[in-house]
Amino acid sequence: MNNKTGVVSFNWEKTLELLKDSRIDSVGLNERVDSLANRSIKKESKLEALNMIVSMCDLTTLEGEDTEGKVSQMVAKAIIPNPNDLDIESVAAVCVYPSLVSVAKEKIGNSSVKVAAVSSYFPSGQVPMESKLLDTKYAIDSGADEIDIVINRKAFLEGDYRKVYDEILALKEVCGDVHLKTILEVGDLRTYENIRKASLISLAAGSDFIKTSTGKLSVGSSRQACYVMAKAVLDFKSLSGVSVGIKVAGGIRDAKDAIRYLVLIKEEMGNEWLTPDLFRFGASSLLDDVLKQIKKLKTGAYQASYYFPRG
């Protein structure tokens, strides 16, 4: 079944087949991920990486205390991350709660920055399906270009994978052309095998992107989780021909760690995935550290945060 966006989804029988091959050895996996973290990224390759990271950021604010003023400031920063260095591109997107989508859209204006909204009763998803659909429709009607939903962990951990799959399918239907990111919430899934299964279900149900975390748990993204998801995306591609994106969010605080993610993606998936169309960072404090590092590389001196406007 192909829907309007050209993303493929598998029927349930085919999805079940996919889930069979989910054997992972965690010791071996951890060793591989650790060895990738040993890469030494310096000089031009570091500057390139930092610039890539900026272009891959979804600048995020998801707090009860968010207001129009706060979001406006963030949008300004998203469009021009460092007013003192106009070589630095805009970020990929801003990510907000549904009620802030319209003001974000207004402030974005003609910029290339996308507006992403979380929905499906983010972050817990513990409500009936009707509420999740309503939530999502509202965000889309407000003008969201991208939607980040959460999978039903309750259903997943109860073993009801069909329900997890059906919900994503239904939400994708509502999204239509709007780009859908499906959040696995790896902190709830715990084991690598669960992460793989959840990835495959989300891929089979037609997600444009799979995303590690909501950022609301103490356990956010990890490079190990990203590795598992990368393997799932590649296995799905070899069966379907479709390249699905990966977003890592939650706990990526500094440029050094972000660069390690890029190394992982490059070596495990290839250069094809090094684009905001297929890889994103959910970020708040990350952007500032990246800007600091860029300035340090360009000037040779360590920087302080107060040089960079708040967003």
Partner: protein
């Protein structure tokens, strides 16, 4: 599409200072050797000259053995507690100067700095720490009061893990009360000679550790010396057999750690992505210059295509280049001689009918390099399936049943190591029971620890190094 390439990240050589010429370390200090024959030692990644080392002659070997005899008397009279402290001190010194040793090792031998820094040197320190702790409790190891040191031990080590092989030899020998005459490989003597500096720094009593350089002729002189009480050799099976023959009819202890052609068995119910990593690690670690390398991939036929596709893709990300670049995965082949051997066997593989895959990479102009290579469509009779290549070349064979895997795995005169990949525990244990190999790795590969005994079955040698069992290589029962 973005093409993000890594910039160079070179580890500086400034930390190392290499002399123009080296003497032998005998009786506690560097001394003028008797031999006048010197050879150049070069960096295999650039072919640049590093230093000159002497090819020790009969007089030099004799001086060293005599020194070791005098050293033995001193060492015998050193309390076990004191010996323990000397070894702890060496361990600490190695830790302090790790970076210096790692850079020198990569420069002299060709292995990536990533490996010498993160694997070789930590293991070297760990070995000295581990055996330091046995020195004062030998009676605990086998509960036999009659176990005594041999006396003077001749140790001949290879070029693939120069300093680590030195640690595997010297630490247990000293801990058990022996004294040593050690000959490093002629292409990689520099870290052994730097280690001699540490012996001086640590105040090791004169004559306990003696390091003399040389080639096969020197090795032969050591083996045949009348006052040697034991020989410990790591190297090729061919030379091992010669040594064993030389010792026939003499009351000299012997342990041999020789070649291998290990089977890495991947069952269909393995965790495939991790198995791919394990297979890659098994053969490409240290450019395949590893006696226990997983050089035969035994793949269950039902997963052959899927596995090979993933394997080739993974191999393509291996970075071949300057050993001092921190991002290099595969360094230089140790010598022109070894490079020729590898090329010869690979050519045979192709002409026998094997299908060859080599990664696309730019090889530096100078130096000795070989691209990571994979053979499929191989029959068990091909030389690439039987002979030890000792390079970054993997040969694939298929099997259908576990019983067949065992038969193919054991169908070799070697028996050093083997790998098993499956998520089923009982199958691991069943398979391990039936493999004729001294070291079996399940769902992992190339794991080493001073506490873990290492050594082979059949023509991979006899005797163990490491662990409680490793002590027996340096102790004999008093009759």
């Amino acid at each position: 599409m973005v093409n993000w390439e890594y910039s160079e990240s070179i580890e500086s050589q400034d930390i190392v200072s290499i002399k123009d010429k080296y003497q032998n370390f005998v009786n506690g200090k560097f001394q003028q050797p008797n031999s006048k024959k010197y050879i150049d030692t070069i960096s295999p990644s650039s072919e640049e000259f590093l230093s000159k080392i002497v090819i020790s002659n009969e007089k030099d070997v004799d001086t060293a053995v005599q020194s070791a005899q005098m050293g033995f008397e001193k060492w015998e009279n050193t309390t076990p507690h004191e010996r323990s402290k000397y070894l702890f001190k060496l361990a600490r010194l190695i830790q302090e100067r790790s970076r210096e040793f790692a850079v020198l090792e990569s420069l002299d031998g060709g292995k990536p700095i990533k490996e010498s820094r993160d694997f070789d040197l930590p293991q070297v320190a760990a070995n000295f720490f581990y055996f330091a702790g046995w020195a004062d409790k030998i009676d605990l190891s086998w509960g036999a009061k009659s176990l005594k040191p041999y006396g003077v031990v001749g140790q001949i080590i290879p070029w693939n893990f120069p300093l680590l092989m030195l640690a595997w030899k010297v630490a247990p020998a000293l801990a058990t009360g022996n004294t040593v005459v050690l000959k490093p490989a002629e292409t990689t003597s520099l870290t052994a000679l730097l280690f001699a500096d540490l012996c001086e720094q640590a105040g090791i009593p004169d004559g306990v550790v003696n390091i003399i350089t040389g080639d096969g002729t020197t090795g032969s002189l050591i083996v045949n010396h009348k006052d040697i009480n034991k020989i410990a050799f790591t190297g090729s099976t061919q030379v091992g057999k010669l040594i064993q023959k030389s010792l026939a009819g003499r009351d000299v202890g012997l342990t041999l750690e020789l070649g291998g052609k290990a089977a890495n068995i991947v069952y269909e119910d393995a965790a495939i992505d991790q198995a791919v990593e394990g297979v890659v690690n098994g053969i490409f670690f240290n450019q395949g210059h590893v006696c226990c390398a997983g050089s035969r991939l035994l793949l269950q036929e039902s997963i052959h295509d899927e596995f090979i596709t993933k394997l080739e893709k993974r191999m393509q990300t291996l970075r071949v280049g300057n050993p001092l670049d921190k991002n290099t995965d595969i360094g230089a082949v140790n010598s022109k001689e070894q490079l020729n051997k590898i090329q010869e066997l690979v050519n045979e593989g192709v002409s026998d009918g094997g299908k060859i895959f080599q990664t696309e990479c730019e090889l530096p102009g100078n130096g000795f390099w070989f691209k990571p290579t994979l053979f499929t469509d191989v029959q068990p009779s091909y030389s690439i399936a039987r002979e030890e290549i000792f390079g970054p070349v993997l040969t694939t064979l298929t099997f259908r049943t576990p019983q067949e895997a065992i038969e193919i795995a054991n169908n070799t005169e070697y028996g050093l190591s083997a790998g098993i990949w499956t998520e089923k525990g009982s199958k691991i244990l069943w398979t391990a029971d039936r493999l004729e190999a001294g070291v079996v790795w399940a769902n992992t590969f190339n794991k080493f620890d001073p506490a873990s005994p290492f050594g082979g079955y059949k023509e991979s040698g006899f005797g163990r190094e490491g662990g409680r069992h490793g002590l027996l290589s340096y102790l004999k029962a008093e009759s």
